[in-house]
């Protein structure tokens, strides 16, 4: 009886461990290639950025960044598995190796870059923290919010910014801590708090899901710089380059007027040397990244350029309805600017 018991226990432990171990050492690019898919840390559900649709397919501009990387490495925008993360665990899943990229509307900050040991490889959305209140409160400016109850997601830069802003303005507030933005929505709708504060993009996304969006107004004050972008682990510059330039490829494509519709045409006919380098007509550039030469062309074909992704998920024709604003190309009045492809 004991023999069987111990054998049984040993079997259980070994099967448990065999599934648990996700094997593989070496650089992230090698690990990803061997695995056959990219592991992407996303939001648990933020419309427009990272949200599963009714069919369970993940959509959003953050999701598109991961799909772009998957396309660059494998040629297939679906060679990616999404791991939803709360603000609490997002950094630990990246640190532990459970995901290769964290594309989850994460703000690039000094402390995260330096102290937590990550690498921010670009900005795919320039955002800022804002406030949303009910229209019938009659408030027109954030400076009138003294004494209000404010729903705030814990463990975020938003929390720290809020505190700084109110101290600077000499106002006080009642913090109502929540874990996820859906919790915040519920408490805001129940009037547990007067104000919901998070990145302006999140406010627009939440508002789009309310039963009566026109009854809620986003106040004009943007009280912080929140450059949102994908994050990878530090000291793996090869992988960081892959992700960085996947994002840049999408931006440069928009600068150069390449879309998913005309990319093949561009490959065949364009005379612009930068386009030729980008789309792999001029060979060799993919190899430096450890990818095939048509990596960027694939991205543009499968995922689209930056504006296509933007308009598809959060543009003015979607319920979220955000204008390009700061996120327009530098040529069009915004600050979106990618390094030259040379």
């Amino acid at each position: 009886m004991t023999k069987i018991k111990s054998l049984f226990v040993a079997l259980i432990l070994s099967t448990g461990f065999s599934t648990a171990f996700a094997g593989g050492h070496g650089s992230t690019l090698d690990v990803v290639k061997e695995r056959g898919k990219v592991m992407c840390g996303t939001n648990t559900g933020l419309a427009g950025f990272g949200n599963p649709n009714d069919a369970g397919v993940w959509e959003g501009i953050d999701v598109d960044v991961c799909r772009a990387v998957a396309t660059a490495v494998f040629g297939d925008p679906n060679a990616v598995e999404f791991v939803p993360t709360t603000t609490k665990v997002r950094f630990t899943v990246l640190q532990s190796g459970e995901v290769d990229i964290l594309s989850r509307n994460t703000t690039w900050s000094f402390q995260r870059d330096v102290e937590l040991g990550f690498e921010f490889v670009g900005v795919n959305y320039y955002d800022g923290q804002g406030f949303m209140v009910r229209k019938d409160l009659g408030v027109t400016s954030a400076k009138e919010l003294d004494g209000a109850s404010i729903c705030i997601q814990v463990g975020t830069t938003t929390e720290l910014n809020l505190s700084d802003y109110f101290t600077a303005e000499g106002m006080t507030y009642e913090p109502v801590p929540v874990e996820t933005n859906s919790e915040a929505d519920a408490e805001y709708m129940a009037d547990r708090c007067d104000v919901y504060t998070t990145d302006a993009s999140g406010l627009y996304a939440s508002r789009a899901g309310y039963p009566d969006p026109s009854q809620h107004v986003v106040l004009p004050e943007i009280i912080s710089k929140e450059p949102l972008g994908p994050v990878v682990r530090g000291n793996d510059s090869e992988w960081a380059d892959v992700v960085r330039w996947s994002l840049n490829a999408m931006i440069i494509a928009e600068e150069k007027g390449i879309t998913s519709a005309n990319v093949d045409d561009m490959i065949a006919n364009s005379e612009d040397p930068e386009i030729k380098r980008l789309l792999g007509v001029t060979p060799g550039y993919g190899e430096w990244l450890g990818l095939s030469d048509d990596w960027a062309a694939n991205i543009i074909r499968e995922v689209g350029n930056y504006s296509e992704s933007f308009e598809r998920h959060i543009g003015v024709n979607t319920p979220i309805n955000i204008a390009r604003g700061l996120n327009a190309l530098y040529k069009h009045g915004g600050i979106l600017y990618a390094p030259p492809f040379r």
Binding site: I12, T19, A20, A186, Y210
Partner: protein, 369 residues
Amino acid sequence: MIITNSNLKIHNYYKWLQRNLFSSWINSFLTIIALIFLYKVGTFFLNWTFFEADFRYNFQGDLITDRILCSKNIVPGEYGACWAIIFVRWDQFIYGFYPTEELWRVNLTFALLPLAIVGVLFDKIPFRKYFIYFTFIFPFFAYYMLYGGPGFTVVDTNKWGGLLVTLFLGVTGIALAFPLSVFLALGRRSKMPIIKSICIMFIEFIRGVPLITLLFTANVMLPLFLPDGVSPDNLLRALVAVTLFQSAYMAEAIRGGLQAIPKGQLEAAQSLGLGYWQTNRKIILPQALKIAIPPIVNTCIGLFKDTSLVLIIGLFDLLGIGRAALADMTWTKLYYEVYVFISIVFFIFCFGMSRYSLYLEKKLKTDNS
């Protein structure tokens, strides 16, 4: 008065009423108040749950901002439960995000689970030996079914959710914790000071900290302790924490049983020349475990309830799915329905376990006396 059988019965009922409900003025007064209270609450609850409730199966669209929108046969002023949320999301509640084509695998595992446990729980059933064999094979079978492997597509554990996760954590946690707790209990009574102190330290440490801190530790710190690339998935980490937690509590329950064994048993075994492991295996443990079963079942009930804590580290157990369902704007106001449903599910399992424990206690009393 002629005392017939029926007269006697009526007389007995009357006496019972008098003694139990109306024994004094105060008592009668309070009984009447209690009856009124029961009537009001009972009818309200029954109305809400059944009679006025909306059992429409295929609810489509329309924001349920107000339950009246959902319930059509209402009397003005009353409203009923809108059970649509349970029906619409039924698959999520039971299976989580398990792919629909593979659901049959989960159903098969659920169906076979009672067969796996019945051999352990009841000892007077026919063919008990075969049931016990099945109990040993079942974990591998279940693992293969639920997770996948050659022949079946792999379904990652982050797609598991709802009742599947709750049962998985509960059953596997108890099964894995049991052997560990036996060793801990024996070790705690060992004569070797090192073993004894290690076991005591472990047990007291686990019993002194809340389960949530253990879950956080497993979630956040385990990756730090392990070599590169080794990254056990979320559900397994929770399982480790839950198993360790349960083993400490079970060990204390078993220790109580061990302490109740008269020293004479140990001495008799020694005089027969039995070694340490033989004594324990054949004499001490069977008796101790029998005595300790009620407290052990108590710890199992506690474990089953505690599996709900994994929602805090982002796993979607039954309660987590409930909360996620409520996060959807369409269903936000239906929190009573969701929480009542989840409470009933937990109640069925836990109350069932406590009834089993009472049955065992009764059986032991008649066995030993």
